[in-house]
């Protein structure tokens, strides 16, 4: 079956899914924090668009509800919360460039190929027309993981985590035509709570190490030793006086 045999609506699903993958790469390389949040919002919107077009093309009406939920949560609410957090943390002009962007991007491309190879046996089964998207969604999950590995800034790691959730949602839509409503609501609530908790954590991390660079967390023990050594010195000095 070739692409030109599919109806136009189903072709649109594939184009939107490819754009979701592209936004994953944009997230991976985006240097500006605020732009990364915007790219994440676009990814949520594209995932919602894929869901609603699948609903229209396959006549699965319950997917419209998931699509609405995705728009509200991933394209509006969570980006807004992230944006407000960034404002309150005074990180609006924060930029973080990757050390070797070309290599990281090539690693991402490698992950796409790997996930295609992984789902190949599944694709060979006659599923619905969305079966080709399974590889894309798996790649989005893996690229989200890659982002969490290579990014040092806590907010960007959270965005990576959220984009993993986007990939999982896309996988659910493409492989099984969406999850049951209860599960979907549960996951949505989970993500929301996670977001609130992350917000609290950002403030905690910043209060203790005065930055959101997660690599600095390794040095917490050293600085604690420094404090101990410092106080020991001071008390020694006090005794001498």
């Amino acid at each position: 079956m070739s692409l030109s045999d599919l109806p136009l609506l189903q072709q649109l699903v594939l184009v939107l899914a490819a754009l979701v993958l592209f936004t994953s790469f944009v997230l991976l390389e985006q240097a500006r924090l605020v732009s990364a949040i915007h790219a994440f919002a676009w990814q949520g919107l594209l995932v919602a668009a894929v869901t609603s077009v699948v609903a229209a093309a396959a006549g699965a009406h319950h997917l419209y509800f998931s699509s609405l939920l995705t728009v509200a949560l991933k394209a509006l609410l969570i980006p807004w919360m992230l944006r407000r957090l960034v404002q309150r943390l005074d990180l609006e002009r924060h930029t973080e460039t990757l050390q070797r962007p070309a290599l990281v991007i090539m690693a991402g491309v490698g992950l796409v190929i790997f996930s295609y190879w992984l789902v190949l046996p599944m694709v060979e089964q006659e599923l619905s027309f969305t079966r080709n998207i399974v590889a894309i969604s798996l790649a989005a999950v893996l690229i989200g993981l890659l982002m969490m590995v290579f990014r040092k800034q806590a907010v960007l790691q959270v965005i990576g985590f959220m984009s993993i959730e986007n990939g999982l949602f896309l996988a659910a839509v493409s492989a099984t035509g969406g999850m049951p409503l209860v599960v979907e609501l549960g996951v949505a609530f989970d993500v929301l709570v996670a977001m609130v908790l992350f917000g609290v954590f950002f403030f905690q991390i910043r209060e203790s190490i005065e930055t959101l660079d997660v690599d600095r967390l390794n040095r917490l023990t050293e600085s604690a030793e420094d404090v101990v050594a410092d106080s020991a010195q001071r008390s020694a000095a006090g005794e001498r006086q």
Partner: protein, 321 residues
Amino acid sequence: MDHLLSPAAWGLAAVQALLYAALAPFVVGWVRKVKAWLQNRRGAPVLQPYRDLYKLLGKEARVAHTASSLFRAAPYVVFVATWLAAATVPLLAVNLPTTTVADIIVLVGLLALARFFLALAGMDVGTAFGGMGASREMLVSALAEPAMLMAVFTLAMTAHTTNLASMIDAQLAAGLVLRPSLLFALGALILVAIAETGRIPVDNPATHLELTMIHEATILEYSGRHLALMEWAAHIKLVLYGALIANVFVPWGIAQSLTPAAIGVGLAAIVLKLVVLGAALAVGETVLAKMRLFRVPAFLNLALLLALLGLLGHVILEVGG
């Protein structure tokens, strides 16, 4: 295939090649005019590039004492190679002999030949600017070429051919099909075209005697008819990329038969497409600022990524299963 070798087809191919040379200054003038409008200036007339070329062709060509014969030959090589490359891209009609004997790999090769001689000519006189421009030109092209070839392979896999005419025929036969791979290939090709034709944000075509120039630095020592040929070649290259993008991705309107009516429609269609593309280029150049030279690799890396995603998208989404 027999009718392709008829004198009429060869005649039309020659007319098309001449049309490339004749149309190129108009497109450049149009882009400059739209840019001037967007900057609240009146701007030079659209026909100004023709007058510039006429003026330069009439002037004496001065050559530096240190220049070798290569310096004199380079403008002719660059012009002829670019013009030949343009002749392989369908402009008015699809099945012309020039477009069927040479495929898109030949096109890339001819453009590489022109660029090679441009860089040699830049270094030949031995000035600092020329050498710097040549090295930058080679940097940009070395990064742009893989992206261009990847985009070309994406197109070739979709159409099962590397021949431009067959590609356009396949596109027309398939009708309106939304292909993610072509979308990404289009993005990659646009970025490559911007880099290769030296437009903002990679290079500023209007700059002179600035440390940021790339293309202008290599032709700084040229004057008279040599300079005219170099400039004309640059204009043809711009139209070549415009016609490539317009006719491969939006092929509708191009003549598939050699009747006068079809060719008239083809001419109107390509002029309209080039005018729209030129206006879009002018808007892009007004909105964007020129980037630092060391940001150019990231820009072309994006082009390569888009081309790779196009290739993978084709394999995963369009073939799989």
